[in-house]
Amino acid sequence: MAIIDFFLIVTKILVAGFFGFLFMGIIRKLAARFQNRIGPPIWQPILDFIKLLSKENIVSKRESPWTNLGPIISLAAYISVLFLLPIGLHFDFYGSVIWVIYLLFAGVGGYIIAGFASGNPYSGIGGSRELVQAFGFELPFIISLLVPTLKLLSIASSWFYVYPFAFVAFLIAVQGELALPPFHIPDAEQELVAGVFTELSGWRLGLFELAYAFKIFVLSSLISILFLGGGSFLAVLVKDFFVIIFLALIRVLFARMTIDRSLKFFWFVATPLALIGLVRVLFLM
């Protein structure tokens, strides 16, 4: 029994990682096609990851050893969330939504630690922007995540037409959490080179890429399960694909916001939407 469990766990991690990378590739390819470019092949992020693992890890003199903790925390957090999603092997218990919220923020925490510890001014500003951005998107994210899961406080499938306001707020928050345009503020290359990742190379950058792959898989699956009806593992993957197309479309349509504007947008546009959804569920349904 234990061996079968172990096998299932490893399979789920591998499948999620693979599809996460594939989704990253699809977003890049779609964005390229929308912009009249050819774009990289969709498996490019996987090749990048393999290449990064074989590269030398350069450690700068000004860096504190806490930097190493960043990618590990992020990766661990996002893999943990994976096992709270009701697809494949998972844990199902009262209050698992609280864990999802907690772990997703821990994932962002990994970026912040790496940013502040790596001793580069660009990384420092990137880390602080990562933190400010998290203050922005966490509010609509948490409220709209609670809307469809309020009764059992565990992740269960439902449809977006039941909770339209929460759905829109959740999409905005996910775009912010994934730091996709117009919210690519923490790693805005024109301002901060690569933000948190400026000083990182080798396995540490690779692990961050892997963490991002899990993040994109987890968040798109959350949308598919909570608002697009969920279903089996395969059904969720297909629905994820449509979510990814939508995210890529938003990605090409907008210019980058500044950090203060994005904060205002999250608080005064997305949060009221989520609150309307919450009020509807609490008092009208």
Binding site: P182, F254, I259
Partner: protein, 384 residues
Amino acid sequence: MHCMRVPFGPQHPALPEPVHFTLKVEGEEVKGIDMSLGYNHRGIEKAFQQRDVLKDIYLAERVCGLCGHSHSSCFVKGVEDVLGIKAPERANYIRTLVFELSRIHSHMLFLAMTAYELGYDTLFQIIFKDREYCMELLEEITGNRVHYVINTFGGVRRDFKVNPKMREKLEILKKRIKYHEKAFNSEKSIVKRTRGKAVLTHKDVIELGVVGPNARASGVSMDMRRDEPYFSYGDIKFKVITKNRGDILSRINIRLEEVYESLKMIDQLIEKMPSGKIRIPVNLGGIQDKEVVSRVEAPRGELVYYIRTSKGKTFPERVKIRTPTYATMTAMEKLLTGLQIADVPIAIMSIDPCLSCTDRMTILDLKTGNKKIVSGDDLRHGNY
């Protein structure tokens, strides 16, 4: 509050030019800047003296990758003044035509880079796609895409033939520019980030000696094409566009409208183009002891060449170039102080920086204040 020093450049993904800024930052606000230039000294002016004037045309063309035609035009105009000759009408029309086309492609590069600095990759890609029409036109007329080298003493190297496809492309460009004008002025995320930011007032422009579109964006009406008409600019009608606000958005809009104006000028040039010779023979032996200052309106503003020749020598004695961006660098502190870090790249980009062409440096001993001249050998061996 603790003041953080953020280095910016000379190697930075958002900065196309080798210039270093140290931003003194409190939180996200820039409190002051230090600037250092001189990372890309190329010794261009010395190279001018070591070649004869004929080869200098090719050197002038390669001073800059974007406004190469402006440089060679300015040099050729200066040497023609020295020789006391005038190029035929038709040659001047062709020169003007290429000049305006190169202004369009330079301005479109600026617009695309601005969109990129704003994090708007889609608009960046679309403008680059449209810029291709302009590049194709230039290739058709001059035979080259980047360095046209169409100027020569006493005329141009290639004749110009109009074909219907050219007019078609010009019409498409006109439509696209109107579209981009709408995109820049109606897209909220662009307008909010550029309106009222990095303002240069009318007074600042005059005090700091800013030139070209950046000056016109602050309401200073200066344009070499109108003030001192060269080539065929005296024959055609155009208006010098000025804006009053002097912020980033008006610097963008001025370029958008200038592109449209240039397209209208090109229509007039093609229509009015006289027939006749494109080149007259020139005797370079007629060079006298003479000093000339030649000025043209390059895409980034007034470009100045000072040329001194001595009798009977085809090698110029001295050539001094003043590029427009170098005149604008003095305004950088005014421009950047008080901005958010997020707005620094777009503020720098908004003056359309292009200074690696003639970067210069002075070696100054800070303790004594003495300037020093370093020989080429010393530079090569690092003894300075």
